[in-house]
């Protein structure tokens, strides 16, 4: 879902300042737009004002100067409780109400919105289902009985239950172990695809920022240093701070930010044959496309519905008229959403230099070759960006 969002700005911060009573300036003259449906990640070292910025949006903190518009309306003119009910809020760790069961936690906002009893019940069931904790099994549990990852899931379900227009997340996965964090990040990405909500996400983990964000806003000392798409930050960092922060000079680090689909993989002139093809046809096609593994030629084989069955090595074929189907073996593949880092690992593990790019339905989205990765590094080194896009 990356790309430029031409949509309406959903949240607008205009020259916002926040000075606390102690005299410390948490946010300095910050102007930022969050577009409908995008995920904007706020990132920076601790004390950079990212959390304060998030809390300014739902008025847990009020601006000293400047204004914040939500759907074009100044938030200071709105009822703060009503405003917050329109924005889901997920915080790190122990934000669940310990004295309420899981289902009561999730029911908080629907009840505040005075939804009828039956509708509350249905909403709770639906939201818990979305985060993989069916209400029959988990609804009656207490938060203390859950693992950290499960609590965080309940936190997300609670934020979704009010059917908010925006979800604000303050380091939601910060307290989790790396494995659980990965899983929850992936789940959130999938949820986002389905729900299409605007999300403002605070983190101090640059990997998380690059993975989750359609755009990433880097902050330092209360100021916005740069905002842009993850790859733009990598290829055109505004200053040394951003370059250091995103690790733009670290090619291996870059590999974990760049997604396979952004490279982009080759989609034309691929050696693909239907399952009914013969070795002769496959050989001719392989000659034309010129894609080889070492000196061996091969083709990918798809069934009638377009699903990839695997690859067929056509060097050792017996007769031109034999069906290619007989030689099909499973082909190493990678998802378009995976990082280039994962793709490279997959190549090394399988001892191949070509990787199929497959979507969830095993449909071919292209071919990623080791040569592509090589050119990616060259581009980056010459400062021409970190994709192969012209």
């Amino acid at each position: 879902m990356s790309g430029v969002f031409s949509g309406e700005p959903h949240i607008v911060l205009e020259n916002v300042w926040k000075t606390f009573e102690s005299g410390s300036v948490a946010v300095r003259n910050l102007s930022l737009e969050v577009y409908c449906g995008e995920t904007l990640v706020l990132i920076g070292p601790s004390g950079c004002g990212k959390t304060t910025t998030l809390r300014l949006v739902n008025r847990l903190v009020e601006p000293t100067k400047g204004r914040i518009l939500f759907d074009g309306e100044n938030t200071l003119d709105m009822n703060p409780d009503r405003l917050r009910q329109r924005m889901g809020y997920v915080i790190q760790g122990i934000g669940l109400f310990p004295h309420m069961s899981v289902e009561d936690n999730v029911a908080v906002v629907p009840r505040l919105k005075k939804m009828p009893r039956q509708a509350v019940k249905e909403t709770v069931a639906r939201c818990l289902e979305l985060v993989g904790l069916p209400v029959q099994a988990w609804g009656k549990r207490w938060p203390r009985e859950l693992s950290g990852g499960q609590r965080q899931r309940v936190g997300v379900a609670r934020a979704l239950a009010g059917d908010p227009e925006v979800i604000l997340m303050d380091e939601p996965f910060g307290a989790l172990d790396p494995l659980t964090r990965e899983v929850l990040q992936d789940e959130l990405l999938a949820l986002r695809e389905r729900l299409g909500k605007t999300i403002v996400f605070v983190t101090h983990d640059i990997h998380e920022a690059m993975k989750m964000g359609d755009r990433v806003a880097v902050m330092k000392g209360g100021e916005l240093v740069q905002v842009g798409e993850p790859l733009a930050l990598l290829s055109r960092p505004a200053d040394n701070f951003v370059a250091d922060f995103v690790g733009a000079d670290n090619h291996l680090a870059m590999f974990s930010f760049v997604k396979v689909k952004d490279v982009p993989p080759r989609t034309e002139n691929l050696p693909v044959v239907g399952e009914g093809a013969t070795f002769g046809e496959a050989l001719d096609l392989a000659e034309r496309t010129g894609i080889q593994y070492g000196r061996r030629r091969f083709v990918y084989v798809v069934d009638a519905t377009g699903r990839v069955l695997g690859y067929a090595d056509i060097e050792g074929f017996r007769a031109r008229n034999d069906p290619v189907r007989a030689a099909v073996k499973p082909a190493p593949s990678v998802a378009p959403e995976s990082s280039v880092h994962d793709a490279l690992l997959r190549m090394v593990e399988n001892g191949v230099i070509n990787l199929l790019v497959l979507d969830d339905n095993r449909r071919m989205k292209g071919l990623l070759t080791f040569g592509d990765l090589n050119r990616l590094i060259e581009n980056q080194r010459r400062g021409e960006g970190c994709t192969l896009k012209p």
């Binding site: 915080i91 122990i94 669940l96 004295h99 906002v109 505040l112």
Partner: protein, 209 residues
């Protein structure tokens, strides 16, 4: 001996009178402590002088001995049960207030943040989040205060408010050990029983989550 003329009914009646004093005083103290405790812990008032001052004065008040409080109150209000109740209320207020404030301040900041951040109005945050979470602490305060009040109420016979204290002080004055014990033992039993019963209720609150 005077004790022989003392029937069970008299002891029971005095015990009931004793409990009445304690109950009225503790109820009044509880309502006061809850109101003041809620008032001083409101975030909007955090930096105001008034709540801090009130809390300081009340906590200092705990240092004044109960008998002195009763004496002082008597000077103003005269003798009788209302005076005793007033004095007991003052005495119970501080342990209760201490725990109400501790309980409300002890609600984890992220939980409060989540409550407000999800759009709960201040009153709802108080009723649905803060008070339930502070309940075990508040209850512990009530328990301490009730036990202390049962003991202190024995002094109120000195200002003519009755209660089991009458037996104790008469017994002491007449060097009548059995008579004194007829007041002291039920007082002790009442205190122990109240402690146990309230303790049981407290654990039930605590174990719920």
């Amino acid at each position: 001996m005077y004790l022989e003329t003392l029937s069970h009914e008299v002891i029971l009646q005095l015990a009931l009178q004793h409990l009445q004093l304690v109950f009225c005083a503790c109820l009044a103290a509880f309502l006061l402590a809850l109101s003041i405790g809620i008032w001083v812990t409101r975030p909007s008032l955090k930096d105001r002088i008034a709540p801090r001052l009130v809390a300081q004065v009340l906590f200092l008040g705990q240092a004044v001995p109960s008998l002195a409080v009763i004496g002082l109150v008597m000077v103003v209000f005269g003798t009788g049960a209302p005076t005793a109740i007033f004095a007991l209320t003052l005495g119970s207020l501080v342990p209760m207030l201490r725990n109400v404030v501790a309980g409300l301040r002890g609600v984890p900041a992220p939980v409060l943040d989540a409550a407000r951040g999800n759009g709960m109005p201040p009153w709802t945050v108080l009723v649905r989040v803060e008070l339930p979470l502070a309940l075990p602490a508040i209850f512990a305060g009530v328990r301490t205060a009730v036990v202390i009040a049962i003991g202190t109420a024995a002094l109120s016979s000195q200002i003519g408010a009755g209660g089991l204290g009458s037996l104790i002080f008469t017994g002491l004055a007449m060097f009548d050990m059995p008579l004194m014990l007829a007041g002291a033992i039920p007082t002790a039993l009442l205190a122990i029983a109240a402690d146990k019963v309230l303790g049981l209720a407290e654990t039930r609150f605590r174990d719920k989550w």
